[in-house]
């Protein structure tokens, strides 16, 4: 695919995906019930024009360039992650040799984008959100790395199209049953949702986005939804066979599977409570990390068999 074509496809899917995430959030609110005070606030098409017309306030002595750059970096990372996803069994917008490693880099750089967002506004609550996200984000990223290595083992390749191909007989979600649940926790973390939302949470009045207003606020919300789109498609690719499936065209299968993962994350984000940060950190190191080792061991044994 030409670079321009890849860019066009990626951005098109991203925008459509963000609309879908907005609809899923609205549906979850409808089904699971409204609350008097919701953080972060809703991303709605109706609110788009109002947000753009609203003044963009700044704080006293912020690092304005970094503050404005953070949503762009977050969105850029989401787009980079999405571009790696194979839309057909043998085709991705950007099909690189070490695609899964590039996705790992996207995960890690997300920590920097979120920290930059909280730190740059020069304000207490956003800074606390930034601190907490780094502590949790880096830990859960370790878990993700082991899980992704496990997913790549059956393919004996780091290329995402090869990982898809290796699931033609059996999805990774089935032969590595711990992989997808552990990877979903990473998804909740990098999309700042529910039990892993230590950056933009209610106890910090919105955390890293507490000082955002107007268009920059909208940009951050958009980037957050875009990261969910990127994550959902990546999870569908690595664990659910991506575009593989009978009868329907590959992209439709990918859309259905990614939609399922996105809906699952949206629901989990509203259903599960956020533990105390120190308790979550202990849980990650004492429970989740050993589970990711076990997942890797299962994947290794399966490959050797």
């Amino acid at each position: 695919m030409s670079p321009l074509g890849a860019l066009g496809v990626t951005l098109g899917v991203l925008v459509a995906g963000v609309v879908l995430v907005g609809l899923l959030d609205a549906l979850a609110r409808l089904v699971l019930g409204p609350v008097p005070l919701e953080t972060p606030d809703r991303l709605t098409l109706e609110g788009l024009r109002g947000a753009v017309r609203r003044q963009s306030l700044t704080t006293e002595h912020p690092d304005l360039a970094a503050w404005r750059l953070a949503p762009a970096a977050y969105l850029g990372l989401a787009a980079a992650g999405l571009a790696l996803v194979p839309v057909a069994a043998d085709r991705a917008a950007v099909d690189v040799e070490a695609g899964i490693v590039v996705w790992g880099a996207v995960e890690s750089l997300t920590v920097i984008a979120v920290f930059l967002h909280g730190w740059s506004s020069n304000s207490l609550l956003p800074l606390l959100g930034a601190y907490r996200f780094v502590a949790i984000g880096l830990s859960v990223m370790l878990v993700s790395m082991f899980v992704l290595i496990g997913a790549a083992l059956p393919a004996e390749s780091l290329r995402l199209t090869a990982i898809v191909e290796s699931q033609r007989g059996l999805w990774n979600a089935v032969r590595q049953p711990l992989g997808l649940p552990l990877f979903l926790l990473l998804g909740l973390a990098i999309t700042l949702r529910g039990p892993m939302d230590y950056a933009d949470s209610a106890d910090l009045a919105g955390g890293t986005s507490a000082e955002d207003s107007g268009a920059p606020r909208l940009a951050w919300q958009f980037a957050r939804a875009a990261m969910l789109v990127a994550f959902a498609t990546m999870a569908a690719t690595v664990f659910l066979g991506g575009p593989l499936g009978p009868l329907l065209p590959g992209p439709v299968w990918l859309l259905l599977k990614a939609g399922f993962v996105a809906a699952l994350l949206v629901a989990l984000g509203r259903l599960l409570a956020r533990p105390d940060a120190s308790r979550m950190l202990t849980f990650i190191w004492v429970v989740l990390l050993p589970l990711s080792f076990l997942d890797l061991a299962i994947a290794g044994l399966e490959t050797l068999r």
């Binding site: 699971l32 008097p36 005070l37 809703r42 609203r54 039990p195 106890d203 984000g269 259903l271 409570a273």
Partner: protein
């Protein structure tokens, strides 16, 4: 064209930040559940400032600062009694709902952004420059001091591991959405660990939470109504706590249960208790978090006291409760987990009592009765030792401290801090 624009505007969500004053928390929560309105957690995300309930004069400067933090175009409404605390606000009668006025004001601002409410404070530092360093600092080296009246970070001993980290002093409240309305704290933080807490202002009075109970001190009321009000109060407290911890589905369920409890329907409370576990809310709270030391136990009241294992409840000495076989429920540990469990257990018990005492003639409790936040109308009210917030919150991380404060009802916290309203 103007009409079409108005119609389109009327379907846009009205995002408002609520400055919750005296006795207004529950009605703001009910308002926020209305379709087309969205209460937001930061003034930066709001187009309207809703000032709900009476705001004591000492909080007016904070309210002015809050007003100026809303981005243009913005407007302000006052939904309370007495003179408005800010100039140029749209006034709404306390007995009316402000939803219509809010939608109208939003539509006006969209039609004419020049109608936006102007800044109330000058855009300048709160105090003159008094620093002494060459780079804007006021203390040692590049750190410390209070240039322009703002305390800068300064290294100090960290409580937990002895590292010398930057300590930062801030004031939070009285309109911070994660704290009880009115509560203002002066905090010294290192990272997100609280090093020192000073009480600046206790929570505002929440007479609405105790209204039916206060009424029962003066004239006969139906006991079933009192118990339904008690259950609704406790469930709303559970809902607020769940929302703070991000368990939005559980929070929605608790608030819906509170509304049903007001109508005497206690369906689903058992499920709510199980969901506290399944959602990870209860396991996610450290055991022992928020336990008061022995010297502090004397200031506990109502459900918080019973959560610490003390079966003190005026209902066990009042007819018709004694006739109905009332016995206080208690927990053992007196921590945050126990207080959440206590609210749920008491809500269930209150609804069972309401069903049992449904046909009981109205009763007056002139000698005092147990309100949702502790005893009312007894000489001992407000005479106990005061809660030491510094001792309670020092060494906790921010999220833990917020959870500890949310595990007391705002009115109970106010009374434990020494404010005796009746």
């Amino acid at each position: 064209m103007a009409m079409r624009h108005g119609q389109w505007s009327s379907h846009r969500p009205v995002r408002f930040f609520a400055a919750v004053g005296e006795s207004a928390q529950s009605r703001v929560e009910r308002l926020a559940l209305r379709t087309g309105l969205q209460r937001v957690a930061t003034p930066r995300a709001a187009s309207l400032l809703l000032i709900a309930g009476g705001i004591p004069e000492q909080s007016w400067p904070a309210l002015r600062r809050l007003h100026d933090q809303l981005p243009h175009p913005r407007g302000a409404l006052y939904w309370g009694e007495g003179p408005p605390p800010l100039p140029d606000v749209v006034e709404v009668e306390p007995s009316d709902t402000p939803a219509t006025a809010m939608r109208r004001l939003q539509a006006e601002l969209e039609r004419d952004p020049r109608a936006s409410s102007q800044d109330l404070l000058p855009n300048e530092p709160p105090a003159p420059w008094q620093g002494k360093g060459p780079h804007g600092q006021g203390g040692e080296g590049m750190m410390g001091g209070t240039p322009y009246g703002r305390p800068m970070t300064m290294r100090g001993d960290e409580l937990r591991d002895g590292l010398r980290l930057d300590a930062h002093e801030v004031t939070v409240g009285p309109f911070a959405p994660m704290l009880p309305p009115g509560l203002a704290l002066g905090l010294r933080l290192q990272g997100d660990v609280i090093q020192q807490v000073a009480l600046i202002q206790p929570p505002f009075r929440d007479a609405a939470a105790e209204a039916p109970f206060a009424e029962a001190l003066d004239r006969p009321v139906a006991v079933a109504d009192l118990e339904r009000a008690r259950a609704a109060h406790h469930l709303r407290c559970v809902g607020r706590f769940c929302a703070l911890r991000g368990a939005l589905a559980l929070a929605a369920r608790a608030h819906a249960s509170a509304e049903r409890a007001r109508a005497g329907n206690g369906a689903g409370l058992g499920t709510l208790g199980r969901l506290l576990w399944l959602s990870g809310l209860r396991p996610g709270i450290a055991p022992g978090l928020g336990t008061l030391g022995p010297a502090q136990q004397g200031c506990l009241l109502g459900p918080a006291l019973r959560a610490a294992g003390r079966p003190d409840d005026l209902r066990s000495r009042r007819d018709p409760y004694t006739g109905a076989g009332f016995a206080p429920v208690t927990q053992r540990n007196g921590d945050v987990r126990a207080r959440i469990d206590q609210w749920l257990a008491e809500a269930r018990q209150a609804l069972a009592l309401a069903a049992r005492l449904e046909h009981q003639p109205p009763v007056a409790f002139a000698a005092g009765l147990e309100g949702p936040a502790g005893p009312l109308g007894t000489p001992a009210t407000g005479d106990g030792p005061r809660l030491d917030l510094d001792a309670l919150l020092r060494g906790l991380e921010w999220g833990e401290a917020v959870s500890v404060l949310a595990s007391f009802s705002p009115q109970a916290l106010r009374r434990m801090l020494g404010e005796a309203d009746r």
